[in-house]
Amino acid sequence: MQKAILSGDEAVARAAWEAGVSVAAAYPGTPSTEILENITTYKDDIYCTWANNEKIATEIAIGASIGGMRALAAMKHVGMNVASDPIFSAAYTGVNGGLVIVSADDPGCHSSQNEQDNRLYAPHAKIGMLEPSDSQECKDFTKAAFELSERFDLIMMIRMTTRVCHSKSIVQLDQRENIQAKTYVSDPQKYAMLPVNARKRHIAVEANLEALKAYSYSSDINKTEINDTSIGIITSGISYMHAKEAFGDSASYLKLGITYPLSDRLIIEFAQKMKKIYVIEEGEGYLEEAVKALGIDCVGKQLLGSQGELNAQKVRIAFGLQAAGEGYATDKTAPPRPPVLCAGCPHRGFYHAMGKRKDKILAVGDIGCYSLGVNAPYNGFDIAICMGSGFSIPIGLSKALEMQNDTRKVFGILGDSTFFHSGFNSMVDAIHLGANVCLCVLDNSITAMTGHQENAGTQKNLMGYEVPAIDILQMIYSTGIDQTCVKIVDPIDQKAMGEAIDQALETDGPFVIVTKRPCALLKEVIKANKGAHCTVDPDKCVGCKACMKIACPAMAFEGKKANITDEASCTACGLCMQMCKFDAISKAGI
């Protein structure tokens, strides 16, 4: 049998193909992005697409499922908040073709704005849930999820975490199953969720969950491992790996693969054999509360806490297997190394120009590469909550400032992909309400932060086919905003950028700035810039450090002079040249 080293994300993609999935959709978000990216490997068999947001991705999958095909939607944990609206109601309708939602959680906030534990969604939304702990299980459980979805007429969720998504381990590969499409038969009582139907479907979904719960007792997706019975550990997902590594064979394990609905019977029978029960889980005390609700005494969150990512060592220390602080330490610490805007990044020009007018502006950011503008020296914005909020928080914030006679103008900042995700909805309201805000679309022609995914503004789709690019400007003008209150600028051009911001500050009411310049890391941009870089004439450089204010990673101040220390990453964007009053910087290699 063929073997491969796959990440959890790659294994889910492989499982989708093997399970005969026909439609897959997602909005990119770390750590889930690679699922759809890898599904493109099978684009001859699977129609796969990025959607503008997670709700739309889920609805595309729901449509395919109702239409009789197996379908998958993938998202990061916070994406499930966006998708929760269709999920909660489609949970009632159930499925036709199997329907699997993948939620990739991020304990430890490696690349997210919160640490929410999406296991709690499963009971709330009334969907089944499986939790894989390694890549092989990612593949096995995803395939099982499609079968269970069809067998029990339920939406199934695969709940992953960063370490499951981004860890690689050995996986056995199989062939694609020949899944027969299910003919769509008109059935509004099942699929049209008006009150009269929804009340009946609520009864149906509860019954289906009960049936899955009964199945769960004897399913081999849950594993009981009896060793020494003085300690019994109830766990799931990646936490099993940490528990197993910490306790080895000195404890027994109930490793739950089906974590909603939980098999009460399985938990009770396991607990009865054990002297003591530990519940080892990352995030919330989801399993622990369920175990306690069965009247079983157990220890878990009081020792492990609910913050951050677990590892075996944390488990050892929490349960007294090892003392803390056994490694090395020195007094000297490494300087912080936060992620930064890349050399040649268009956002740098925007933030620098805005920073020069900082006392007149209160800015709200959003989720994307431009989030990095929060760091020094830009200190570009004070607030960032979630996708799209960069254009709606300013509506309320500007009102609050106005009520307190604070004359600062509120700026909202988001990118092209976020604009399509939900930013446009917010913009419509801001313009409709006449809010005194400046909305800035930092259009770099790609979904950059997650590694260059196509979006509605690009001319290619995920599968590489030519598609019509949706014009952001036409969308903005469609709101009916006075066109003199919309400025399109190259953000590297500091004169134009500054003038646009000044005009926004002078305008009472909504103003829109669209910065247009593609991401410096796009292949075609790199190709066009090949060999081009800036260079500093040391004889002209007086060491005033004006160019250092833009914080370009291709530059450093060495021996009392500025220098382009990383010519390879310098794109000759020329922003540093505009900072220099002594004409010491020029372009070379063009």
């Binding site: 490696h110 860890s167 490494a334 190394r337």
Partner: protein, 195 residues
């Protein structure tokens, strides 16, 4: 065996870990590799973790759990120190890459990180991999040079490394990477004879 690779976005830590994983699977080990990327691509710290043995459970390494830290950058070696197990080894490049807080004068770069580490850790090998790579004409092969040093240290000779490297990099880069590997490999053996 628990290995922690640390560097700065773009240094090739992930590729190095992938090549080593591939080799270890060929050798019959159970292997788990864990990487954290996303925001770290943009000039931030990149950590990849590789564990191998007869049976591996957790993919990630906690503090005081790494047998070897392979640091592609000097300050990152210092940052990773809490992850080193007592008695473990550090293989580090002397390369310095300034982070933004250093570039804008908000933080100081620890130029003496290698000396500090050598004082408190018994087994520190400073490998001038980036210097070797530059001499070979491509700074990018720094990672494979470090891989060579690591392979020597781990005594993983029973693999056709040249072939594995060739299939892991673009064809025109194969030879220079193979040379870099050999130079890194030989450096560790020379050192061992000295001590």
């Amino acid at each position: 065996m628990n290995l922690l690779f640390t560097g700065v976005g773009g240094q090739g830590t992930i590729l190095t870990t992938k090549i080593l994983s591939e080799a270890l699977v060929h050798m019959g080990y159970d292997v788990k590799m864990s990487e954290i990327h996303g925001m770290s691509q943009r000039g931030g710290t990149v950590n990849t973790q590789l564990k191998y043995g007869t049976k591996i459970y957790a993919p990630n390494i906690g503090e005081a759990e790494a047998d070897i830290i392979v640091a592609f950058e000097k300050a990152e070696a210092l940052r990773a120190l809490p992850f080193l197990k007592k008695g473990g080894s550090i293989v580090m490049d002397e390369r310095e890459i300034y982070s933004m807080p250093v570039l804008i004068g908000q933080a100081e770069y620890p130029h003496d990180a290698d000396e500090i580490l050598s004082k408190c850790v018994e087994h520190v090998s400073v490998v001038p991999a980036s210097r070797i790579a530059e001499e070979l004409g491509n700074i990018k092969v720094q990672n494979i040079c470090l891989l060579g040093a690591l392979v020597k240290l781990l005594e993983l000779q029973d693999i056709n490394w040249d072939a594995l490297i060739a299939q892991s990099v673009p064809p025109r880069m194969a030879e220079i990477n193979q040379i870099a590997f050999k130079k890194g490999y030989d450096l560790i053996s020379a050192k061992k004879e000295l001590t």
